[in-house]
């Protein structure tokens, strides 16, 4: 585990990632929640039963990537805004990353943005492709950003 207790952010080593074969099949949820806190809405929300808590709500969520179909329902249901949708198959060179975004105003499609990594550093450029914001998502919209494939597991926020 990285020093997240000291600096607040996770590194790739902390996060369970799907295998390349699963990434090749399209969008999948990546859960960046490593602490045993009393919380389970992600597992309640998943329509595929892909996210489970081992024995109690104090366990960390466990995701079966083979069951996840990348629907993104868990993203808006996570109180910690800690779930991201990663589609490494978006195009030949680009990935599409869905991020929960509780700020206003919402970006428009085709808006160019500066990408930020987990520790708040600029890591590249991206283009907003769509914003999903339904009533059921209860004010936690998902912003989908196209970016270089290499950034899919690095960029976690953006600056306008």
């Amino acid at each position: 585990m990285s020093d997240f207790l000291k600096n607040g952010y996770l590194t790739l080593d902390d996060i369970r990632q799907p295998e390349d074969a699963r990434f090749a099949k399209g969008a999948v949820a990546v859960i960046e929640c490593v602490q045993k806190i009393p919380c389970n809405p992600c597992s309640d929300a998943c329509p595929k039963g892909a996210i489970t808590m081992k024995t109690s709500i104090n366990d960390t969520p466990d995701i079966d990537f083979s069951l996840c179909n990348g629907c993104g329902i868990c993203v808006a249901n996570c109180p910690g805004l800690a779930i991201f949708l990663i589609d490494k198959n978006y195009s030949e060179t680009e990935a599409l990353v869905g991020m929960p975004y509780e700020f206003r105003p919402l970006p428009e499609a085709e808006e160019a943005v500066t990408l930020i990594d987990r520790q708040g550093q600029v890591c590249g450029k991206g283009v907003v492709k769509k914003v999903r914001n339904t009533k059921a998502m209860d004010r936690t919209p998902i912003v989908f950003i196209a970016m270089d494939k290499d950034l899919a597991m690095t960029a976690r926020f953006f600056r306008r």
Partner: protein, 474 residues
């Protein structure tokens, strides 16, 4: 400055009104407190201190401290954070103790009989614990009156814009503001909630002194549930009394209840859940957060909350503290410094940050005056917040029929406050209306639900505190 676009909240402002402050006209909206309206108008100095005549602004914004006292329509020492602004009001900043002129004191004085109200359960405080107590006690037929000193119902829930943790039973993923509304909507005709009605005293046997419609009123009850919450801790540093040093709850009140920007550039002290959550809410309101300082070597907040803030480019500096605030009559900046493993300042690491607001999120202290007036046995358990009333498993204190629930019983999450209130309400109803299978099932469920919330590593401190309380029970 008022917030117009917000990702979570819509501000429904009342009719525009105006009043005067030190002779100057101030615009406000109906439903705003005097202190909030003054802040929106850029007036942050509300009074001057007694001895040194230092400028003072507000600190807690929920009536717990007395930093916001001003003279209103000739009456001194009015807590302006709890009194609604009214058209034509005459508000004056106050220096020193405040004087009530003899003519003013005599005017309108008339000897009257003190009114007496009777109810089955009197509940002090309409926050998550008090409302839950009312919700469940009334379901089992008990008549409840809830006394709330603030102008709004819901306690601290009305400013929690984030989604709650826990499971479905704890209202997980629902935003605090909406949980508050759910509780209010669930109340039945057995419950009466009185706002702007502070409880100021306790008399044996089970009588409360309340100020209702500006008059002393006695409330006689069979059971009393005290859910008075907590007040925010101060931190010692030079100039900590400058206007612009606010408690985290006050900052939330301004931005999330009234839609008023607390400042433009903020320094947050304390990286527990409250500090980190409020820092994120500040970003959502459009405030720049310079940094979050934490004197401990590690962040106390949940990793997911801290990570949210870090990817928004806000530094969280562990082993750092505030050395002093500075500014001419208001906060203009702060000197921050690194601490070593012995909590000593590391020489040469001081640096100044330019901020107009300093937000303190350094812990809470249970509000316990009523228990002491009632003669409840008090215990000292640091893990639960310090000086608290002893309580049994059903939240009853050592004084028969007097209960405690929520932060007044132990500093914890709102989710546990709701469960404790529910337990107190159920037990009071059981004692009043008699036991039933349904009721004891409910109580068992609440106990299990509380245990579940506290079962993880983050519940360890509370579990230790509960163990000490268990020792005190035998």
């Amino acid at each position: 400055m008022r917030i117009n676009e917000h990702p979570i909240l819509e501000f429904e402002r009342g009719k525009q009104i105006s009043f005067t402050c030190d002779g100057k006209s101030v615009n406000a909206f109906e439903g705003e407190t005097i202190a909030a309206a003054l802040h929106a108008a850029g007036i942050k100095t509300l009074s001057h201190s007694v001895k040194e005549e230092r400028p003072r602004g507000f600190f807690c914004a929920i009536g717990k401290c007395s930093s916001c006292m001003m003279q209103v329509n000739g009456v001194p020492n009015v807590k302006t954070c709890m009194v609604l602004a009214e058209e034509g009001m005459d508000v004056k900043s106050q220096t020193g103790w405040g004087k009530l002129g003899l003519a003013d004191a005599k005017r309108g004085y008339e000897r009257k009989k003190i009114p007496v109200i009777e109810t089955e359960i009197a509940i002090v405080g309409a926050g998550p614990a008090g409302l839950s107590a009312a919700l469940y006690a009334s379901r089992f037929g008990a008549k409840c009156m809830v006394f709330e000193e603030n102008t709004q119902v819901g306690g601290q829930l009305i400013k929690q814009t984030h989604m709650f943790f826990g499971s479905k039973d704890h209202h997980a993923k629902v935003r605090g503001i909406d949980i508050g509304q759910k509780l209010i909507d669930g109340l039945n005709e057995n419950v009466q909630v009185l706002t702007g009605t502070p409880v100021v005293g306790y008399y044996p046997e089970k009588e409360l002194a309340v100020i209702k419609d500006k008059r002393l009123t006695i409330v006689k009850a069979d059971k009393i549930i005290v859910a008075t919450g907590a007040s925010e801790n101060m931190l010692s540093f030079p100039n900590n009394d400058l206007p612009g040093v606010y408690g985290a709850g006050a900052v939330q009140t301004l931005m999330n209840v009234y839609g008023i920007l607390p400042g433009e550039k903020m320094l947050m002290i304390g990286a527990g859940n409250i500090g980190v959550i409020v820092a994120y809410q500040l970003l959502q309101a459009g405030v720049h957060v310079e940094a979050v300082l934490e004197a401990l070597p590690t962040i106390g907040a949940y990793q997911v909350h801290a990570s949210k803030l870090r990817r928004c480019e806000v530094p969280i500096l562990t082993r750092h503290t505030i050395k002093r605030a500075f500014g001419n009559g208001k906060v203009e900046g702060a000197t921050i410094v690194e601490l070593d493993e012995n909590w000593q300042e590391v020489p040469g690491t001081e640096r100044d940050v330019e901020v107009d607001t300093i937000c303190l999120s350094v812990g809470l202290k249970p509000t316990t005056e009523i228990f002491e007036m009632a003669g409840c046995r008090m215990v000292q358990i640091p893990e639960l917040g310090g000086h608290i009333p002893w309580r049994g498993h059903s939240m009853e204190t050592s004084v028969n029929g007097v209960y405690v629930a929520g932060d007044a019983s132990s500093i914890e999450e709102a989710s546990s406050a709701m469960l404790e209130g529910r337990m107190a309400g159920l037990d009071a109803a059981e004692q009043l209306k008699g036991a039933s299978e349904e009721l004891s099932k409910e109580k068992q469920h609440v106990k299990e639900s509380l245990d579940e919330l506290r079962a993880g590593p983050f519940g360890e401190k509370i579990r230790q505190g509960e163990a000490k309380l268990e020792e005190a029970r035998s």
